[in-house]
């Protein structure tokens, strides 16, 4: 009678993530949009050699930028600091405050972590392409900058463009507001960001939500992420999220 997608704990939900996995981590960089509890569980699990695809390499949480009252929160910096990450593909690798370098910068200067730093719009479009079965796309963003180095270019309709390729992952860890039992998701305000794009591009998508309701309780016109993209749901009210 359909697949049960509801997991009691984040530990169970991430139990099969192996060393060397490629993991997309959702959100933009605010306390409310990050899957903090899933990240923490991944840190506790201690898996290594991860490739992280995310907007940032963990730049805002410790500084409390993007939370009400400037309260620190968890982001992928925890994984980077733990030495669990081999490579980060992101648009914001360094601290937002130059005088307070983050874990990524320190490891990067020591040559202990790899980086692919790309424009945010290119990053999210590469993820969308991965989920949409496309191989790649031509974008104007980055022509005439360091970003074009080593990339194919062509002129389309008189404008020079760069070829960028699709990104996929083994897992996506995301945060949403409410899920129904089928995995349909809604968000609140700015929570959609990368959360509503990454599940499509991952083999297994795991979401932490404030609330799980019965199928039919969410307005069909308001569902943002169709349940077919979501594999595992864990209820973590935001006040307990960490």
């Amino acid at each position: 009678m359909g697949i049960n997608k509801i997991y009691k704990t984040v530990e169970e939900a991430i139990a099969d993530i192996p060393d060397g996995a490629t993991i997309m981590i959702g959100g933009f960089g605010h306390a409310i949009d990050r899957p903090q509890t899933l990240i923490k569980a991944l840190a506790n699990k201690g898996v290594k050699n991860l490739t992280i695809i995310s907007n940032s390499a963990g730049v805002a949480g410790k500084l409390g930028i993007g939370s009400v009252g400037g309260k620190p929160f968890i982001d992928e910096e925890l994984l980077v600091e733990n030495g669990q990450v081999k490579k980060v593909i992101c648009s914001v690798p360094a601290s937002l405050v130059m005088s307070k370098p983050n874990a990524f910068e320190k490891l990067y200067r020591e040559g202990k972590i790899e980086l692919e730093c790309i424009p945010q719009g290119t990053l999210v479009e590469r993820i969308r392409a991965g989920g949409a079965g496309l191989g790649g796309f031509y974008t104007p963003t980055g022509v005439g900058t360091l970003i074009e180095e080593g990339k194919e270019k062509r002129i389309i309709e008189g404008r020079e463009m760069i070829l960028e390729f699709a990104l996929k992952a083994d897992y996506a860890l995301i945060r949403a507001y409410k899920a129904d039992t089928m995995g349909n998701l809604i968000y609140q305000g700015i929570m959609r960001s990368f959360n509503a794009i990454m599940p499509q591009a991952a083999k297994v998508a795991i979401v932490e939500v404030d609330e799980i309701v019965e199928a039919g309780e969410l307005d069909p016109e308001g569902i943002v992420t169709p349940g077919i993209f979501i594999d595992r749901i864990v209820k973590i009210p935001r006040e307990e999220s960490k």
Partner: protein, 221 residues
């Protein structure tokens, strides 16, 4: 020393460029302040790349601050009638697709051709590209707001940028703490000087030769 315009006044001058009905994205720092200075009688629709359009002003107190109503720079906003939300792929489709009319961005360097450098510099091994590059490439009008020179006196308006570019030939207008300039095919045109400043004084801290606008005037504040 002469008085320089405050960050607020730089933002105010930039905001005068917002036309009625404009869709505007503001970067962090001075640009973000422009939200407070939309000219009376004009409606501006603000966009934040983390997924909102048409939101309202900054809340007056923390009790009015909601964790899900916060712009890309971490500045909270109030709800406003007509506001809507969307995901990152849609948000950058708007930006790259030219649907955001104006972006106001900070800069480390700007060239006389309108090249913008604002994401990193050689000494910093790791820079943050973020959403700025898409904004610089995608928005029909890129307005730079910044101090005219660095705190240590280095020039920022140059013949050629020496830092890695954010986007070539993208800037259309520059508002600094001493001048308002526009980028043209012929070069940088000085349109306004801050109260008390002369053309020569502005030229002295600007590497490229400035073209003096026919209608050059003192900035009205």
């Amino acid at each position: 020393m002469k008085e320089r315009l405050s960050r607020e006044v730089i933002a105010l001058r930039a905001a005068r460029e917002f036309f009625d009905g404009a869709v505007v994205n503001l970067g962090g720092g001075i640009p973000a302040l422009a939200a407070n200075f939309v000219p009376e009688g004009r409606t501006v629709i603000f966009h934040t790349e983390n997924g909102a359009l048409g939101f309202g002003p900054v809340p007056r107190s923390e009790s009015e601050t909601k964790p899900h109503l916060m712009g890309a720079s971490g500045i909270p906003f109030m709800p406003q009638p007509g506001m809507c939300f969307f995901h990152h792929a849609d948000s950058f489709a708007m930006i790259r697709g030219g649907h955001i009319d104006i972006t106001v961005l900070g800069a480390l360097q700007v060239s006389e051709k309108g090249d913008l450098a604002n994401w990193t510099f050689p000494k910093r091994m790791v820079g943050n590209i973020g959403g700025g590059m898409d904004l610089a490439f995608g928005c029909p009008q890129v307005i730079v707001t910044m101090e005219h020179i660095t705190p240590s006196g280095e020039l920022k308006i140059l013949k050629e940028c020496t830092y890695p570019l954010t986007a070539p030939r993208c800037v259309s207008k520059i508002v600094t703490d001493i001048a308002f300039l526009i980028v043209t095919e012929e070069g940088l045109v000085l349109k306004e000087v801050a109260p008390g400043w002369t053309v020569d004084e502005v030229q002295a801290v600007t590497e490229p030769k400035l073209i003096i606008g026919d209608d050059l005037k003192e900035m009205e504040l």
